[in-house]
């Protein structure tokens, strides 16, 4: 069981955390909504929950709630540039199909 960050993603997260001036890490989650059933949540974490599953990847603390974990296991969070657009990208082996835009997915 693991969720990781690419080195590039970790560098960006660390940079944003410094500029933000607070927070203990990054929270990844999955919730049901969107056109293909599920959607990612990517938030700054200010507090850890007792049942959180924690990983550390390239110096960044990653927090995941137990309900989201099965859907995220094996995911690598990357930072990508597509044309002018740039941002974080979930490389998730559990995804069977995603909606056209990729904002929501099915497992």
């Amino acid at each position: 069981m693991a969720v990781t960050l690419s080195e590039r993603a970790a560098r960006h997260v660390a940079n944003y955390m410094v500029k933000r001036g607070k927070g203990i890490g990054l929270r990844l989650a999955v919730r049901t909504s969107g056109c293909s059933g599920m959607a990612y949540k990517l938030e700054f974490a200010d507090t850890a929950q007792p049942d959180d599953i924690e990983f550390e990847s390239h110096g960044v603390r990653v927090l995941i709630d137990p309900k989201s974990m099965p859907y995220l296991d094996g995911t690598e969070l990357d930072y990508a540039r597509e044309g002018l657009n740039e941002g974080f990208k979930f490389n998730n082996p559990n995804v069977k199909d995603a909606c056209g835009c990729g904002e929501s997915f099915n497992v």
Partner: protein, 633 residues
């Protein structure tokens, strides 16, 4: 696969519901677009990684247009159709543009705002600005991967209604919803986070390519008041380049140059200036078309020396702005540096020395306005972080009011009122039976309409004919968050209404605003005297109207000698009211009032007699009883 940004805890948007918002610095020379990504304000770059978009648009004969670097490249070839610095024309009539003879454009005078005749047709400054904004919108949509909820666009603090409206119109034309127009110095202060930590006085020193602006801001409880603005519309980084250019000519003992050689050397001068920002000595070398070779070294010391007068020149408006605000250097809590030219070490030193503190300069001075606008846009779009529950307020730069009898200004919303705001005041009619009222909306600080700028006029018709002073007309002024004004008037007894959204014919020039503000301070006493005089003239005319109406109705109540006295008093007051002597007017009014006192009493008796004539006392009682029972029934 969509690319995601990190959001604040609990702020994750539902898929496809990201609230994308940008801040735009629509500059005279360059424009920028910025957004907040994963909690951090960043400027969005183009395909080649360039953050700036030159504010230049070239119109071609086939109806197409080029914007930015592409247009700039064509400027030398096609100056007539390549519009630069269009910001100076926003909301202006042709008469407002100083030095237009020296510009390569073909201007066309149109009602409201000038037009520029190009190969692609007549273009208004709003259209040209819209082309710049559209380019930035497309860049933002490509960068953020979706349609924009809206944008915060910055404008100079001294922009008046007409210029703000023109900016808003340009955004609309570019398909860009405007969340808010924001004053540039305020945006710079926001970028430094001054809005959520600090209270106090801040100076924003903005030295751009061709203009210099200084603003004194006061921040209290989340409200940015612009206490004073000043500057020099013909002083900027280009002047520093020119000083280096002159130094090269002298040091290399060059003969008069060809146009090509001059532009090569000017470019070298600019490079040297930029190099000296972080180096002690800049090499300047090149071979000219004339065969001459330039090989010089420019040190920071020499650079500082040859540009000393330019730096000193920026300090004059700074001192003046502080004086206008009634403040001293020690009141200023922080100084924000804006504009690429503030990178020059001698400018930093001079500002630091003047304000006796190091200026804030850790953000890129070219981007700071756009970054602040992006931060504000992010908040207005609803992407708030915890603790960010403040609302930023701006103020109106010049008082808004309307014309009253005698050409006087009644200020409805005073300068520096926070916006949005709405205020109302009641007015009445001047003449018996008056059924219409002309409302002239003005902006400015002076007491007389002729010294202020007229923004709009409209009429309220259908007022019921009543005696002078009986109608109650409520005039409301409403200024929205962008500083745009709507005026409405309503007669209270009949409910008739008229309103107007102020789209003034054209606005004020920066110099005019500065002059108007200065004049208002210099003329406080004059204005007060003028006002008193005008008021007495209005009173005199009101009295004359009333006496004439009375004479027309009841001339028989006056004996011949009394009538002669009244007539002579009237003549004297009439001539006094035309002259500019308030004392004479007051004396003549006193006389007329004294000589008509008995007459007025007799008229009163007569009207009472008329009311009761031929009616028995019982009838009168019966009337009142009937009225009472009528009420009960």
């Amino acid at each position: 696969m969509a690319l995601l940004q990190i959001v604040e805890p609990g702020e994750s948007a539902a898929p496809h519901e990201h609230r994308l918002a940008v801040g735009i610095d629509l500059g005279t020379t360059n424009s920028l677009v910025a957004t907040v990504r994963s909690g951090l304000a960043v400027v969005l770059r183009d395909e080649l990684g360039r953050p700036l978009l030159p504010s230049v648009v070239r119109y071609l004969a086939d109806g197409s247009s080029e914007v930015g670097y592409e247009a700039q490249a064509g400027q030398a070839l096609d100056p007539r159709n390549t519009i630069g610095s269009v910001k100076r024309f926003m909301g202006r009539g042709i008469a407002d543009i100083a030095g237009r003879e020296a510009m390569p454009y073909v201007f066309d005078d149109a009602p409201g705002m000038l037009r520029i005749d190009t190969a692609g047709g007549l273009k208004s400054p709003v259209e040209v600005s819209a082309d710049i904004l559209r380019t930035l919108r497309l860049r933002a949509e490509a960068s953020l991967g979706g349609a924009l909820l809206g944008a915060v666009i910055t404008v100079p603090a001294y922009f008046d209604e007409a210029q703000r409206q023109a900016t808003k119109d340009a955004a609309k034309l570019a398909g860009l919803p405007v969340l808010r127009l924001l004053n540039e110095p305020t945006a710079a202060a926001i970028a430094y986070g001054l809005d959520n930590s600090a209270e106090g006085i801040y100076a924003v020193y903005d030295l751009g390519g061709g203009t210099f602006d200084i603003s004194i801001l006061k921040l209290s409880r989340g409200i940015f008041e612009v206490l004073a603005t000043g500057g020099d519309s013909a002083l900027g980084g280009d002047d520093f380049d020119h000083r280096i250019f002159c130094w090269i000519l002298e040091a290399a003992k060059l003969r008069p140059l060809s146009v090509e050689d001059a532009s090569v050397l000017l470019a070298r001068a600019r490079e040297a200036k930029e190099y000296l920002t972080c180096h002690g000595v800049a090499p300047i070398s090149g071979r000219l078309n004339s065969g001459e070779v330039v090989d010089l070294q420019l040190s920071t010391e020499i650079f500082a020396e040859i540009t000393q007068t330019l730096v000193a020149k920026t300090m004059q408006p700074v001192k003046k702005a502080l004086r206008d605000a009634g403040l001293s250097v020690s009141d200023v809590k922080g100084v924000v540096m804006v504009g690429g030219s503030t990178r020059m070490p001698q400018v930093q030193r001079a500002v630091g020395k003047f304000f006796r503190q190091d200026p804030l300069n850790n953000l890129d001075p070219d981007k700071v306005v756009a970054l602040g606008a992006a931060t504000q846009a992010n908040l207005l779009a609803g992407n708030r972080a915890a603790g960010d529950d403040w609302l930023l307020l701006d103020v109106i730069p010049l008082s808004l009011g309307l014309e009253t009898m005698g050409g006087l200004v009644e200020k409805i919303i005073p300068r520096n009122s926070t916006i949005p705001t709405a205020r109302a005041q009641e007015f009445t009619t001047f003449r018996d039976g008056q059924t219409a009222l002309a409302i002239q909306v003005v902006q400015g600080e002076r007491e007389l309409v002729s010294d202020c700028r007229s923004l709009a006029r409209f009429e309220l018709r259908g007022i019921p004919p009543l005696v002078a002073g009986a109608a109650r007309i409520r005039v409301s002024f409403q200024v929205d968050a962008d500083g745009l004004l709507a005026v409405s008037a309503r007669e209270q007894t009949s409910g008739v209404e008229a309103s107007i959204v102020v789209k003034p014919s054209y606005g004020l020039s920066d110099d005019e605003i500065a002059t108007m503000l200065k004049d208002s301070l210099a003329h406080v006493k004059d204005d007060a005297l003028q006002r008193a005089l005008k008021e007495s003239q209005v009173d005199a005319r009101r009295l004359l109207e009333a006496v004439r109406a009375a004479l027309a109705a009841d001339a028989d109540l006056l004996a011949a000698d009394e009538r002669a006295r009244v007539d002579s008093d009237i003549a004297r007051l009439e001539s006094a009211a035309l002259a500019d002597n308030r004392r004479q007017i007051m004396l003549a009014m006193d006389d007329l009032e004294a000589d008509t006192k008995d007459f007025a009493a007799r008229r009163m008796d007569k009207s009472i007699r008329r009311a009761f004539a031929g009616r028995h006392i019982n009838e009168l009682e019966g009337d009142s009883v009937a009225a009472k029972t009528g009420e009960v029934a």
